[in-house]
Symmetry: C2
Subunit: 505 residues, 2 copies
């Protein structure tokens, strides 16, 4: 399983064994060494944290630490000796003030469901978990503004919003575990992005604690507020490196009363993009998801997941689409969807298709789409890339990679959020091989940059690829990011070694 | 006409006469004095700018300078001796580098259609106009990403987008003059905010020039890009105080093929909010505007604008609503709208209503709604406030103010973007009276702050109310904004005296 370190760092990488005993590839760059400016935890620190949190909030138990040191994929593992669980913003502030004064490095941890190792330590960073800050604070019944503490899970928030006729503006496979502070810090995308847009538009307010303990409270719940710089935007996607998010205000749209799901087969990528273009026009305001998978993704998933059923078993096309509509009138929505599908089939853009007749069939289709990443894990090692590419280039990337790796025994799999120009490119192999990785990287990043794309669409950079930022951002932009980091966290105690590349002297 | 200086500064204000000869109130705070750190323009500077721009881009003509020194309302007037018109980003960079080295203060100017004096100088700042940078650079026909230079007007951009089946995600009365750099710098809201949300979600990429000439290029055209801090967000709503925006990438939604407009009469504000709540649920995804005006706004507009026709002349209710739907199927949209209206009328929520039967009738209704601010100017002096308030408190503000000012000969008028919790509170009087202003301010800001609102929903702070930021942002937030300003513009040459309050020692 690849961690996708870039070519820049490849020469420093080595393979290590997981403490959990499961064989996996873990790449530690010898270029990344524990910062010599950081203090080591001592008993006086533990006593100070116990004063702040009480003994229940200070965790030194090995089993709990083992779980918090490792990410859910078993890819990244740190060596923290202390896990703290604040219950309030003030406690979080007191913790950071102590850490800043003492130069103790800190890693914030939400649901630990990220894909780039952003929420686990590399070395002995103190872990600050938000698991004990999960209160939902308010929900405005008229405009849908929801406020909550950072540790509330997406599932809990969505359930609460739905009780009042709203829904959360984002949805993820990890919704049962991912937390508000985490999904805002990673600027999570997911399945509702096409309809409800980016968190930069949906997040109305934030409360964050800076490294020195300063509490920045902008828990605004109204959609418009033009009074000064919108500082909260900086924390969205900052991966916990500028401050620790302690509370979130987010705008929930009204939940649609009618949902339809279609699964379609297309012969060519040209047909896929034309179907997408027409869906945007003809389904218009009711289109809520436009996902795609290729034949390789379908076959791999059928092979490795027993529960997955092929919705169109008699077809053998190269592309499959999952198209969802959500609206306020079931009859209107179905009329639009059927009209759109009839036209597209008559014109030969769609080879075959089916509309889910009940919730079970819809869950089956979503199970196939969401099962791809699970199937990839069953299939062996995966070199995973989360790319944003302009529509014409998006699948060319998969074909170029397939051609490039044709002499290796690998499967190149493409799927993702086509409506958001977001490709999940996965190269699946029985075993992990360094020579394959070297043929992929840095080529995959260079090709993406050349075609105007982003080397991380929604996963972020974390500890996996901070050096790769240079493929998507200019030296001036990266330089300014370093200066923003210095301003917000002068001692660099917050989530070190992540998001930003090491500084060139 | 009031400039709405806050109580904080009121004691420093004095009345002056416009150079245009028209009597108006201009309030200069003696607390705001020309910064002693700024150099005065000399002939060597003019020669240097001529080297950069050629003589055509360097304007010293008095008529042109007069126009650029004064805002469109005639409220604010500076005394700049130089107007520069760069044609390229590099020229803009060269200009700023010179200004920064020389400590020449700069004011960026777009369409000069703002409402808070953000785009005109206070003293002798050099004006940098973007009128010569108005090229539309690209439009992606699949995903609607549009890129343009900063000087393109909203009308030009919308016309271009519509030629290809898209539309701009914002609409303003000033669209014929306001420019991309300006509407992004002011984080403009307007009439499509309800449907397409904030520019923080719609702006995909920016190019900005920092005070020292550094060009920050993040002209991303894809909706997802999680590579490092989203620095472009800082420039959205920064009113040109952190950098000069030279190019913009923005996501254009598909234009709807069907639009309907209803004008409704309601007896009470409770009925108004209930109609809004139901419109969000029943019209759902096709609701595209929900505006309101009160009887006082209607009467004032009928009185002062000859072209305005009352769409419901036989009604005499306190509230009127403008409800717009936009969708992809005219039949479906009309069925939804009629169903919604029938229910609301049967339940007594709506006293009367009409649906525009053609474009002319629709324009007539929009003309009434958009004519209110023009009518207010005809009516005499206006004390104008742009507030964001939670729905239950929104109209209470108007009633409280009406009661508070009942012993004065004024008309308290309330209208605005109800769907965005955005109230335009206007107090109209034949003449401007300081004692009236003192009864309004700072009360209006204190009341708004106490009720969880924002003292500037969409207009910004500009030179009108930088001190008022403290009603909506905590000292910690304002302190951090000052530090961000120092980081981006250490010599404070960019649009001084605006957005941020004077620093307390």
């Amino acid at each position: 399983m690849s961690l996708g370190w870039t070519g820049i760092l490849a020469s420093h990488c080595k393979l290590v064994q997981s403490q959990s005993g499961r064989s996996f590839c873990r790449w530690i760059s010898s270029a990344v060494q524990r910062g010599s400016n950081y203090a080591e935890l001592n008993q006086a620190d533990v006593a100070a944290f116990t004063d702040i949190l009480g003994s229940g909030g200070v965790v030194q138990d090995e089993t709990a630490l083992d779980a918090a040191n490792e990410d859910w994929m078993g890819k990244y593992k740190g060596n923290s000796k202390l896990l703290l669980r604040p219950k309030t913003t003030q406690q979080t502030s007191d913790i950071l003030k102590h850490c800043n004064d003492r130069r103790l490095a800190v890693v914030p941890q939400g649901g630990n469901s990220g894909l780039v190792g952003g929420s686990v330590p590399l070395f002995d960073e103190v872990i600050v978990s938000f698991a004990s800050m999960k209160r939902i604070l308010s929900l405005d019944k008229v405009n849908g503004a929801l406020t909550c503490q950072a540790g509330s899970t997406l599932q809990e928030l969505d359930d609460h919003a739905r009780e009042h006729g709203f829904l959360m503006p984002l949805d993820l496979g990890a919704k049962g575990s991912c937390q508000a502070g985490g999904f805002v810090s990673t600027n999570a995308g997911g399945l509702r992005f096409l309809r409800y847009g980016s968190l930069h538009g949906s997040v109305l307010g934030l409360e964050a604690v800076l490294a020195d303990g300063t509490i920045l409270n902008s828990m605004q719940t109204l959609p418009k507020d033009n009074t000064g710089y919108d500082l909260k935007q900086l924390f969205i996607g900052a991966e916990g490196t500028l401050g620790l998010i302690t509370a979130v205000a987010i705008r929930c749209p009204f939940a649609s009363t009618s949902t339809n799901l279609a699964y379609l087969a297309c012969e060519s990528y040209e047909a896929v993009t034309e179907v997408y273009r027409r869906a945007r026009r003809e389904l218009g305001e009711i289109l809520s998801a436009f996902e795609f998978l290729d034949r390789q993704a379908l076959e791999l998933t059928k092979q490795h997941l027993e529960n997955v059923k092929d919705p169109l078993p008699s077809t053998n096309t190269q592309f499959y689409l999952v198209v969802e509509t959500s609206g306020s009138n079931a009859e209107h929505d179905m009329a639009k969807l059927e009209g759109f599908l009839t036209d597209a089939m008559e014109e030969g853009l769609i080879a075959d298709g089916t509309i889910a007749q009940d919730t079970g069939q819809a869950q089956g289709i979503w199970g196939l789409r969401e099962g791809i990443s699970v199937a990839l894990r069953h299939a062996g090692a995966t070199y995973k890339y989360d790319l944003s590419l302009p529509p014409p280039a998006l699948y060319t990337m998969v074909e170029v990679m397939r051609q490039r790796l044709s002499h290796h025994d690998v499967r190149v799999v493409g799927y993702g959020h086509l409506g958001d120009s977001n490709l999940h490119l996965n190269i699946s192999s029985a075993d992990w091989k360094e020579e394959v990785r070297k043929e992929i990287e840095p080529f995959v990043y260079e090709w993406t940059a050349e075609h105007g794309g982003s080397i991380s669409a929604e996963h972020g950079l974390g500890q996996m690829k901070p050096e790769c930022i240079r493929y998507s951002k200019s030296p001036e932009m990266v330089g300014m990011m370093h200066r923003v980091k210095d301003l917000f966290d002068p001692n660099h105690i917050l989530n070190p070694y992540k998001l930003l590349p090491q500084r060139t002297q």
